[in-house]
Symmetry: C2
Subunit: 413 residues, 2 copies
């Protein structure tokens, strides 16, 4: 049985939607890596009764509690008081904590406000945790239930180093930690429900399988219990990958832009893009990878027909005859941008992202994508993507890159 | 007393840190706007016992519960079962929900997997909620405590429209809601701490002010108590907007791409873009607005120097003398793409997004942006953006568009 933990997050900015709680997902990931399962994440506003309630509840739910927020100098910051009330401890000025705060203000050359003294008022019996990245000390405390609770500031740039300096070493000293192994298969172009059916065949004891949709890709997460040997893990992951096929573009790797970019980089090949309905989305994605200038030569956002003709050499008569959203135009875009840029590969994308512009013949979501390479136009596909404008654009960009990736890995010449 | 709500979020991807829960902050913001205070956000893994526990706990804590996740076709998706157990209801195949799923697969031209039938198995006595954005129907159910619970899918692009189509209207029908008035001032290019000082002057009873950073913009949220008359609200919002200046680009409006695009559309003006370090990010943003084809003519992702010369007419000697990241190159990019596209406006962006490529003279984050228009190159600015590659790209794209917006609103000719 893995050790369990509860995360607490406090603050009106979280319960009114002004701030997204990124602390808890960061902490959950770090605890997971230590073999600690998060059983609950509980967020409450800055009201002392609610805080007392969630602190007491958390200490009963799991032996480890990590809380963020509520340690600042303002009247909203009620954590120490709430912890004191939850466990029947008085809050007192802790000389050590006060010294840290005073030293920090002295180092910044700023006078310390009276309100900052409050930050050194901590529950009896706690262990103050030094904050070298801000003014608010944290603290650790043992609850009557036996649970150990850690309280950290809510500012991520203070919370993260304090977790690493104080909490993680304390947790690692626990003898009962035994970290599991996580592997991620990254997939583009297979719906989650199909993936689940494909991957079911590799199920075995000591393996948990989860899926994460992160448009346009889906990730298959395989979590192996601590005892599973590496060779068995590798074989299982490989079996799952083979069942999915080439659309599983990597294991424990970056996204498709990174994987494809590095393939191009290794081969000294280059890429050019002619985008109509995706309007630069694919170029921006390819360029999100550091070092992309080694393989991305040029992109053309050819939104107007005139731009398609001028920049990618699309023939006006082709536009007249087939319309801008058509196979011949996608082919001419791919070939045209490839020649213009002098690149190894050219991708042409033209479609109807919506919400307007659809016809019975070419409904919203219709996208034509062509791939040009050393052998001329080597691939063309017609898609019909569901969803809103942004989703159509995202999946069109993903599918264009997937066509190039497929060409790169299925023919290794 | 405002009405209270509890948010539930379900999924191992949340409790293992694979995904940040953005659904709950979005929902918290929407409820806040309706005058509903979120008292708790509770996240649990995909374990049926835990889900039963949090569903029951939530129904006791508040009269409104909105839950996300766990409605998919996989065995991880346990929400309906957990709700059934929490409230002593059997789950049964709901013909109406099954019809929705079948119709959706038929429309996509894809066969429906057996696992998708499970998505139509919902607790007795619930009201199925149609999902026109994905396959998973949601449902609403009344708990024995009297609380009303809404269950929505975890995919944000399905969850958000379902909240708007089903949950919000249902909540508004509640007689005891007395929604406050929420106004949002949207700002680009002013740090949050500066905004806070600027806006402090308009504070008054019955007004809560919050700030939401959503790169590259910051939103100032003004929540007025239900009783504040419209004229007073308008005057307060206007006073805050005037204190911020032109960088407050709108109130209760779309993002800067939408506002600027509609300004161009109204005037029959057009836009062209030459992007180096942002690599299509600005074009994709401009094109995210439905109808953008009316104002966006062409974009050039001129990542290589050869592309800058070929497509935007940058002079090779300018590149040699000043380097690609320089004011003269930004000016030539803006002028070159404007002439090429025959557009009213041209924006040229060149910079160092990092992590590599910085020099003492031109550190990472250095970006030059120029705006060309009827009067030639009408504006140029040099920026030094902090943060990682993605942040530099995001702020560079935002700043380029802000320069055009400023030009459009400060000179109405």
């Amino acid at each position: 049985m893995p050790v369990e933990a509860v995360l607490l997050a406090q603050g009106n900015e979280l319960t009114t939607g002004l701030t997204t709680d990124t602390n808890s997902s960061w902490l959950a990931g770090r605890l997971w890596g230590l073999g600690i399962d998060v059983r609950r994440i509980i967020t409450a506003p800055d009201r002392v009764d609610d805080l007392v309630e969630i602190v007491a509840q958390a200490a009963d739910l799991a032996p480890i509690v990590v809380a963020t927020g509520g340690l600042g100098p303002t009247r909203d910051d009620l954590t120490a008081e709430a912890v004191g009330r939850a466990f029947g401890r008085r809050c007192r000025l802790q000389p050590e904590a006060l010294q840290w705060i005073e030293a920090r203000f002295a180092a910044m050359g700023r006078p310390m406000a009276d309100s900052n003294r409050k930050q050194a008022c901590l529950p009896d019996g706690c262990t103050p945790l030094e904050n070298r990245w801000g003014t608010a000390p944290g603290f650790a405390i043992d609850a009557p239930s036996g649970a150990r609770l850690y309280f950290l500031p809510g500012v991520p740039s203070e919370m993260k180093p304090m977790f690493e300096a104080h909490v993680e070493p304390d947790l690692r000293r626990r003898a009962d930690l035994d970290p599991p192994h996580l592997h991620t298969i990254r997939v583009l172009g297979v719906p989650e429900s199909t993936l689940e059916e494909l991957v079911r065949a590799v199920e075995r004891p000591g393996l948990e399988i989860g899926f994460r949709a992160h448009a346009p890709e889906v990730q298959v997460k395989l979590r192996f219990a601590p005892g599973v040997p590496e060779a068995e893990r590798r074989a299982t992951v490989e079996a799952a990958r083979q069942r999915i096929g080439w659309r599983a573009f990597g294991v424990d790797c970056g996204d498709l832009a990174e994987v494809t970019g590095h393939l191009l980089g290794e081969r000294g090949q280059t890429l050019s893009l002619a985008e109509s309905c995706t309007a630069g989305r694919l170029a921006a994605w390819v360029a999100s990878v550091p070092g992309a200038s080694a393989w991305l030569l040029e992109g053309a956002v050819v939104y107007s027909n005139a731009a398609k003709v001028r920049t990618c050499g699309v023939l006006p008569e082709t536009l007249d005859r087939y319309g801008a959203v058509s196979e011949p135009v996608a082919r001419q875009l791919a070939r045209g941008i490839r020649e213009r840029a002098g690149a190894t590969w050219g991708i042409g994308i033209t479609g109807i992202a919506g919400p307007g512009g659809g016809t019975p013949d070419k409904p919203v979501g219709t996208v034509h994508i062509a791939l040009a390479g050393p052998g001329g136009v080597e691939d063309h596909r017609r898609f019909r993507f569901p969803g809103d404008r942004q989703r159509v654009q995202t999946f069109a960009a993903g599918s264009g890159l997937a066509m190039l990736y497929k060409r790169l890995v299925t023919d290794q010449k």
